[in-house]
Amino acid sequence: MIALEKPQFAETLLFLEDVTVTFDGFRALNKLGLDVGRGEMRAIIGPNGAGKTTMMDVITGKTRPDEGRVLFGDIDLTRLDEAAIANLGIGRKFQKPTVFENHSVWTNLELALKANRSPWASLRWVLGGEARDKIAATLERINLLPAFASLAGDLSHGQKQWLEIGMLLMQEPELLLVDEPVAGMTDAETEKTAHLLRNIAETRSVVVVEHDMEFVRALNVRVTVLHEGSVLAEGNLDAVQNNQKVIDVYLGR
């Protein structure tokens, strides 16, 4: 295995510094710092309540931090709302697969396709040949080409996860935040998903939150361990798993 202790990424894409979020006195994030390079794939692990989802909320504009900076390139994300951040090129997959169940698979992707998002532009939208090809290519990539006309609500759990990842791809984001992509998947589906994410990470930065250690191992990337809202350890999976502090946290001291 190649040592990943000193990653060499040309530039930082996402940079969090001293981010603190408090809910009713509870510190969900405590001076969190994170640095994700352009083109990097990073896995985030940590016990329940470590702040993984809150971190995603802060990056995507759902939650405003009390303190700290969140930079995407050189843009401060803490001043923007969800839609503006999404349009800057940050895509987010929720923990529970969230797709538009009353729309067909095709329509789900068509709505996610990068385009002018104003109501007026949507009213006048006509599906062009280029858009058609992009949707078809993504359908192929997420293994849903045969199911393109099915209602998204009729898909299996694993297929919904893929569809949601496909919707992120249609947005052409520079950074994908993926929350527990293999939760509830079969082994075969998990393997396909790992392959899909590695494939995506060739052209984009990806941050994956995951509990499944086998899956994190299959991704073979740098791992950040969160605990009580801050970074506990960082490194490759083997180094992190042998870290005494991490062992203490996971085994409950």
């Binding site: 349009n87 169940e101 709505l111 009729d154 694993g158």
Partner: protein, 379 residues
């Protein structure tokens, strides 16, 4: 290769609805004006006005369905937009009375003379011109919906909270319009209309034309609403209804979409009110009463939420039943209405439109083989 799914603008149900509407739009006035009175085919005058009224209600239900059925905005205050459109038309009709009022004042409506007002308030200026009044029929409800929606949707007020504040909005307007010094006739509202565009409002021919205009407005707004919901904008509205935060994280400004559809819907409701007033001959503050808005929601649910034509049909059927039952058993109507709502909720989740769904809608695209295989794998 693969065929991208396309939503037809009208669809089979829409075409059938428009054909039936056109038939009713032509048949009723023709049988009223040209069949000999007393013959089996003759439609009496009162019936023309009654059906015309139903058509206005149908347009109101269509407007409610556009925001509720497709965007999940349960407005319990659409009666306010309907009443405002009605008042705009009523003000024009009042100005047409001229010196034929009881007090014979050529400038001031009777109730202003009665209040000892010396001149027309500024907000009554311009209403003597029909095009101006027509503009206000759209502009006033539209502006209220825009301001209200801008504040509510920007603050992300949704669900039952939004329903409650829409209810509060119409109730506030009810109280305001009751006040004599608002200058809208207070408790009595606006009435005793004489003519519209120079034609006497009581004449059979005028009523037939108003009736036809109501049908035309319903058909036109139906096509417009279908155009909206069958576009990508309509798909986004459904997405907002089903998964609002997913839509936001895809980069759509949810509040802009809601504002657009809420404002369009309010204008449709305003038009319905404007056509309603000359046919019933009166507009008063009771049109703002919250019960009216709630009843409209019941018509929509009864007809079939999210189908547009179903909502229009529901309004017509429920109101026809209301006319019949209030004649037969005046005290029982509210119980029947409540019972109807329960029956629909329990046994007909898709409303009247659902009854026709067996032959109307194409069957769902079958789950393909590949989808089945991986579904089994997942289980």
């Amino acid at each position: 290769m693969i065929q991208a799914p396309v939503t037809p603008i009208l669809g089979r149900g829409g075409v059938i609805f428009l054909v039936l509407l056109l038939a009713v739009a032509i048949l009723v006035p023709v049988l009223n004006l040209f069949a000999t009175p007393g013959s089996a085919l003759h439609v009496p005058d009162y019936m023309v006005t009654l059906i015309g009224k139903y058509l206005c209600y149908a347009l109101l239900a269509l407007a409610v369905d556009l925001v509720w059925g497709f965007c999940g905005i349960l407005s319990l205050g659409h009666g306010a937009f309907f009443a405002l459109g009605g008042y705009a038309m009523g003000m024009y009709l009042m100005r047409q009375i001229g010196s034929r009022g009881v007090y014979g004042n050529p400038e001031l409506p009777d109730f202003m003379v009665f209040l000892n007002w010396k001149e027309l308030p500024w907000y009554w200026q311009g209403f003597e011109y029909f095009p101006f009044a027509l503009l206000m029929v759209f502009l006033v409800p539209g502006a209220l919906a825009f301001v209200f929606g801008w504040l509510a949707f920007r603050s992300r007020v949704t669900g039952v909270y939004l329903s409650i504040i829409t209810q509060a909005m119409t109730f506030a307007l009810l109280l305001a319009f009751f006040r004599n010094d608002m200058g809208f006739g207070g408790n009595n509202g606006l009435t005793d209309f004489k003519d519209i565009l120079g034609f006497p409002v009581q004449a059979s021919t005028t009523r037939a034309v108003l009736y036809f205009c109501s049908a035309l407005a319903l058909g036109g707004c139906f096509i417009l609403a279908r155009r909206i919901v069958s576009s990508k904008l309509g798909l986004v509205l459904v997405s907002i209804r089903d998964a609002e935060s997913r839509t936001r994280f895809l980069g759509y400004r949810v509040e802009h979409y809601k504002l657009f559809v809420f404002t369009v819907s309010a204008m449709m409701a305003g038009l319905a009110g404007a056509l309603y007033v000359p046919q019933v001959g009166i507009i008063n503050p009771s049109e703002f009463s919250p019960e009216n808005s709630i009843e409209t929601v019941i018509w929509t649910a009864f007809g079939g939420r999210g189908t547009l034509w179903g909502a229009a049909l529901g309004a017509i059927v429920v109101n026809a039943a209301k006319s019949w039952f209030t004649g037969l058993l005046p005290d029982a109507w509210l119980f029947i209405l409540g019972g109807l709502f329960i029956v629909v909720t329990l046994f007909m989740p898709k409303g009247l439109a659902g009854i026709f769904s067996g032959w109307r809608w194409a069957p769902r695209p079958p789950v393909t083989e590949a989808a089945k295989v991986s579904t089994q794998a997942a289980e």
